[in-house]
Structure formats: structure tokens, C-alpha cells
């Protein structure tokens, strides 16, 4: 079978001692940093990205995938034990997870999250391997008009998930797209918005922006809160292994979560956040069995379902990235950044031109998941210790890692100034309730959208109708409009607000 052959090729490349080590180190570092309160996967990856420059491409991507899974799992750990979600996708985990921890069942909650994630990761990997080739075929049929419309859909999808005002999130996308245009225009060679600063002709480093907004901006915002709000009290963990009853309860939730996550992750703009939300809502809707605690009071289903969905979604969100070259969420946007640094243009051609990289990455995702489970469950004691590090020790270290990391990308202090500048911008966004994630996506997609729109309109001799007369493109745009209408419709709107209020 072709699928097996492909996976075998992948494992052959991923299972070298060196790559296994990178996967291991990636998971370890990812968990280490992800477990620190207030640092989610985006900040973790941005911070550790420069450390992977020196590695060969396959190893670098494997390490990054490990970091991603590790930081995500680290986020769940903090969510369960201290009620602090490290990232938005683990917000729902706090609801039941922390309740369980308070009742002395933090161990089974962590185990449920870990085992559920592992199962979901296995299924997600298989789906990725099975769907990537046919989707790549489809991608070759895509012209510039289709790509443009797909990116529109992806951006709308990302906006729908942002909490808070929809209109502001759309504005953030536009701002991101515009900032992404700074630098030399590939078609005319004109340096746009560079103010004659030579460093700006290459555009502003994506890493500097991500670190500034997600690293510095968050730190400043955290420090402005009174101390007692930040202090964390860690729930004790006594035993780890779930009981037989726990297993009976969580298994169907894991299955449902995995199915949901795999489906929603493929959608552009989908991924882990939407998946974990949908799964929690589903678990909440299902009738309780006699004697079962309602959700929100420490039901293991409320941890196992969303955590599985979250991981399945994280896995399948690589599908649009690897097949179409379009990042579906900020983490994937960072992955694009990493790939371009290694001279790999993400997109359908990766599979044919670098099959070892493509399948190696897929195989390494599975390895990453396996690493997580063998790494995290036994080491949980260490992670808990890390949680108790006071913030005043942590934040200078984070500032330092951001500064060193960004300097090392180009060995240029200009990037250090840029992190500082975007740190201020990040704090302004925080003050004005502007969610920064859509901006990051716009930033990556800006030049791609311009290029595809330009080509599409060049081919149609300036007729904008080309976007709606080509069937696939029209379909994607209709989907985007539908998505907007659904979100804006009064009933869904109030539901959406309700959901975000509940989470906060």
C-alpha cells in the first residue's frame, strides 16, 4: 500500500538517532517553557526558533514539531494544576481539569490529557498521511485566483475564532497584511515603507514581531497586574493512573474529541482552539450517566475530550500547510517562517521535491507524540516544581532569551530594536483589547495574497470577476461569506459571546 510505503520512508528518515534526539530535545524544551505560566506555544516557538537555525532542515522541523507538542502539553499541565491556561486552546481544560486537581485527582486528569492526546495524535498522523497526497493533487489544480480565495477563507476562519470584537479582529488582519508588505516588492524591486533604512528593505523580521508582541507585550501586561493575581498555588498530585471507571468514562470522550479535532483541524483557520471548544461543547450537551458529575465540576470527560480534540486538530492543521502552503493558525505561520529560513517554500511541491522531508516530518510528529507520553508522565514532578518558580525570576530570563534569540537570527542589533518597538505595540494591543493572533497570520499571508491577486488579475486582464467565475475560487469565497454570516447572525453571535465569557 502506498500509505504504508510513504510512512515507511518517513520513519526511515525520522528514526535516525540524531533526529530522535532532536525530537526528544524539542519536546523537552517545549514542555519546559510551555509549562511556565503565561507562555503559550507561539511565544515558545518564537523564542526557540533561532536555536534551530544551525540544524539541517529535517532536524530543525522535527525539533520544532516537538517544541510545538511539548508546549501544548505544558499548557495543559498548567491549566489543570494551577488553573492558568498557557494558551487559548487549553482554556476549556481548566474548567474540569482544575476542579479535578482541587479534588485531589490532578494525576488522573494529567494522565487523561496525555493518553487522550497520544491517541488523537496517532489518528491525526494517519489522517495526515492519507489525505496529504490527494490534497496535493488538488493543490496543483489551484490557480492564483483559488489561492487568493483560500487565503481569504483562512483569514476569515481565524477571525471567527478570535475572542472579543469581530470587527477589531478583521482590522488586526488588515494591519498584519500591511505590515507584511513592508520591504522589497518582489515584482518591481521597489523597497516599500523602508524609509531608506537598509535593514527594512528585507521587511521586518517575523520573529522580532512575534517575540515583541507575544513575549515583551505579555510580560509588561503581566507585570502591570498586582502581585497577588499572579501568584500561583499548585494543586498537589498524589497518584497518576486513572481508575477503571475513569477509563470507561474517558474512552468515548477521547474518540469523539479525536473525530472532531481531525475534521476541524483541516479547515483553514481551524486547528486546536476550535477543536477543543467544539469538543467541550459536545461533551457538555451529552446526557450524564447516573452518578456522573456534571461537566464543570471535575468530570474527566471534560479533560479527555478537549485535550484529544486539541491535539488531533494541531496535527491535522499541518495538512493545509504542507499541501497548500497556507498556514491555518499562528503556530503554522511560525512553521512557514522556519521553513523559508531553511529555503523550503511550503506548498504542494514539497512532497514531490523533498519527499524525505515531507514524510520525515509526518513520521516525526508521531514520534513527538510518543516522546511526550514517555517524557511527561514520569517527569510530572519536575514540571510541577517549575510551576512554583516565582515570576520575578522568570521574566528577566524571558526578556533575555527573546533578545539573544532575535539577535542571533541575523547577528544584527536592528532586530533587537524591532523587538523593543513591537513590545510597545504589543502592550498597546493589550490595553486596547486587540487580539494579536490574527495580525500574525496576516503578516505571513500579506505578500502571498498580493502575489496571487496580482497574478490572478493579470491573467484576467484586470477583471475582478475571475475570483467568482472560477468554480473552486467562488466556492471558497462563498464559504468565507457564509462563515461571516453565521458568526454575525444574532443567535450565533450571542452564543459565541457566551462561550467566550464562560471561558474567561
Amino acid at each position: 500500500m502506498e500509505l504504508i510505503e510513504h510512512l515507511a520512508l518517513g520513519f526511515e528518515h525520522a528514526f535516525t538517532l540524531q533526529n530522535l534526539m532532536y525530537a526528544f530535545v524539542g519536546c523537552l524544551l517545549g514542555t519546559l517553557i510551555g509549562v511556565l505560566p503565561g507562555i503559550g506555544p507561539v511565544a515558545t516557538i518564537a523564542m526557540l526558533l533561532p536555536a534551530t537555525y544551525a540544524l539541517p532542515p529535517v532536524a530543525a522541523l522535527i525539533a520544532l514539531a516537538g517544541i510545538y507538542y511539548g508546549s501544548q502539553y505544558g499548557g495543559s499541565t498548567t491549566a489543570i494544576l494551577v488553573n492558568l491556561p498557557g494558551e487559548s486552546a487549553s482554556v476549556v481544560t481548566t474548567l474540569d481539569g482544575h476542579q479535578m486537581a482541587k479534588q485531589g485527582r490532578g494525576g488522573p486528569a494529567l494522565a487523561a490529557a496525555g493518553l487522550g492526546s497520544f491517541f488523537a495524535g496517532c489518528v491525526g498522523t494517519l489522517i495526515l498521511a492519507a489525505f496529504a497526497p490527494p490534497l496535493t493533487e488538488l493543490a496543483f489544480k489551484f490557480g492564483p485566483a483559488e489561492y487568493f480565495s483560500l487565503m481569504v477563507l483562512g483569514l476569515i476562519g481565524a477571525v471567527v475564532l478570535a475572542s472579543g470584537s469581530l470587527l477589531k479582529a478583521i482590522c488586526m488582519i488588515f494591519l498584519g497584511l500591511l505590515i507584511g508588505l513592508i520591504g522589497t516588492d518582489v515584482n518591481s524591486g521597489v523597497a516599500r515603507y523602508s524609509f531608506d533604512i537598509p535593514e527594512l528593505t528585507d521587511g521586518i523580521s517575523f520573529i522580532a514581531i512575534a517575540m515583541g508582541i507575544f513575549g515583551y507585550g505579555e510580560i509588561i501586561a503581566n507585570l502591570s497586574k498586582p502581585e497577588d493575581e499572579r501568584d500561583v498555588s499548585v494543586a498537589a498530585v498524589h497518584h497518576l493512573w486513572p481508575t477503571a471507571k475513569d477509563f470507561r468514562d474517558m474512552t468515548p470522550a477521547v474518540l469523539r474529541g479525536t473525530a472532531l479535532g481531525c475534521t476541524l483541524g483541516i479547515l483553514p483557520g481551524g486547528g486546536s482552539l476550535l477543536s477543543s471548544f467544539a469538543s467541550y461543547t459536545l461533551e457538555k450537551k451529552l446526557p450524564l450517566r447516573p452518578g456522573e458529575k456534571p461537566l464543570g465540576t471535575g468530570n474527566i470527560r471534560g479533560v479527555a475530550g478537549p485535550e484529544s480534540a486539541n491535539n488531533a486538530g494541531a496535527q491535522t492543521s499541518f495538512i493545509p500547510l504542507l499541501t497548500l502552503g497556507i498556514p491555518g493558525n499562528p503556530v503554522m505561520a511560525l512553521m512557514v517562517g522556519a521553513m523559508t529560513i531553511h529555503n523550503i517554500q511550503p506548498g504542494p511541491q514539497v512532497m514531490t521535491s523533498n519527499p524525505d522531508l515531507f514524510w520525515g516530518l509526518i513520521a516525526s510528529m508521531w514520534i513527538g507524540n510518543l516522546m511526550l507520553i514517555i517524557l511527561n508522565l514520569p517527569l510530572i514532578g519536575i514540571w510541577i516544581k517549575l510551576l512554583t518558580i516565582p515570576y520575578r525570576w522568570l521574566f528577566p530570563a524571558i526578556v533575555l532569551f527573546c533578545a539573544i534569540g532575535v539577535y542571533s537570527t541575523n547577528n544584527n542589533t536592528f532586530d533587537v530594536w524591532m523587538v523593543g518597538l513591537f513590545g510597545i505595540v504589543g502592550y498597546i494591543f493589550h490595553k486596547l483589547d486587540c487580539e494579536p493572533a490574527p495580525l500574525l497570520l496576516g503578516l505571513i499571508l500579506g505578500p502571498m495574497m498580493e502575489e496571487n491577486l496580482r497574478r490572478a488579475l493579470l491573467l484576467s486582464r484586470g477583471d475582478w470577476g475571475v475570483l467568482v467565475t472560477r468554480p473552486i475560487s467562488a466556492g471558497l469565497l462563498v464559504a468565507a461569506v457564509l462563515l461571516l454570516i453565521i458568526v454575525l447572525s444574532p443567535t450565533v453571535r450571542s452564543k459565541r459571546e457566551e462561550a467566550f465569557v464562560e471561558e474567561g
Partner: protein, 161 residues
């Protein structure tokens, strides 16, 4: 009149100004037409839309309904100290040729950054900041210089020569 939804109002203004700035900046470049887009076409289009959307956000925020969300006070201390720590790091690491400051290298820069950043916390003690800086300096040296062999100037020029 008093604006109740301040966060929305000011963010709307921010978007409008940013959009306008990009759109005006785009006029410096060749705009072209849809069939042959110049470098100014796409930024002009996006900037214009952003400006209009920003004004809409601000206008909606002016409606008397809705819960107030004041911007609140600005945390100047952490803002200035964190950004300051970052600037000090950059200046010490890379030097400042325009004012004749030589590059002092990574170790000095780490100490300066950690001490300045630590002052942003509520309980600052110079001693613990120096301890933290020492730990981080050794750790960074081992990871970045020895482990990843990144090209950094570690010591000041007058020591290393």
C-alpha cells in the same frame, strides 16, 4: 461627552490612522491598475479598507449603549524598564559607533539586561538580580556559544583584543 467604550474607540482610531498612513505612503509608489498592479496598488487598497473599518469601529464605540471599558492607567514602570533592558542589551552587545561606544560583548549585556529588567518587578533586590544574571550568563554561554556555536562577541573588545 464622555466616551464609554474607550478601548474600542482608541483602537478604532489606531486602525484608521495606520490604514491612512499606509494608503498615503502607497501614493509614493506606482499604483498601476488591476491588470498591472504597481507596488502601490495592494497597500493602497488594504490601507483604505483598514482606515474605513477603523472609523467604523470608533463610530460604534461612540454609541451610548454597551458596557464601559476604560483604557485604565498605563504601566509605565514595566513598560519603560522592559523596553529599556532590551535597548541596553542591544547597545552593549553591538556597541554604538556613532557615540564612540565600543561593543562590550554578551556577558556585560546579559548582566545589564537582567538587572534593568528585574527592576520592573515589585520586589527588586540587586543581589538576587545579580545571582540570576550569573546563572543566565553561564547558561547562555554554554547553550549559545558552546552548544550552538553562534557567533557572538562574548567579552569586551579591550579584554579580548
Amino acid at each position: 461627552m464622555k466616551i464609554k467604550r474607550q478601548r474600542d474607540f482608541y483602537s478604532g482610531l489606531m486602525f484608521a490612522v495606520a490604514g491612512a498612513a499606509f494608503a498615503i505612503g502607497a501614493t509614493n509608489y506606482n499604483i498601476g491598475d488591476a491588470a498591472r498592479m504597481g507596488p502601490g496598488y495592494f497597500p493602497m487598497l488594504l490601507g483604505g479598507i483598514l482606515c474605513v473599518l477603523g472609523l467604523v469601529v470608533a463610530a460604534i464605540a461612540l454609541r451610548p449603549s454597551g458596557e464601559p471599558n476604560p483604557v485604565g492607567s498605563i504601566a509605565w514602570k514595566p513598560l519603560l524598564l522592559i523596553i529599556g533592558a532590551n535597548l541596553v542589551f542591544g547597545i552593549l552587545l553591538g556597541g554604538m559607533p556613532t557615540v564612540g561606544l565600543p561593543a562590550l560583548g554578551l556577558v556585560v549585556a546579559i548582566y545589564a539586561l537582567v538587572v534593568v529588567a528585574a527592576m520592573a518587578g515589585t520586589k527588586f533586590s540587586l543581589k538576587s538580580a545579580l545571582v540570576l544574571a550569573t546563572v543566565l550568563a553561564i547558561g547562555s554561554y554554554l547553550t549559545f556559544i558552546i552548544g550552538l556555536s553562534l557567533q557572538f562577541q562574548v567579552w569586551p573588545t579591550f579584554i579580548s583584543g
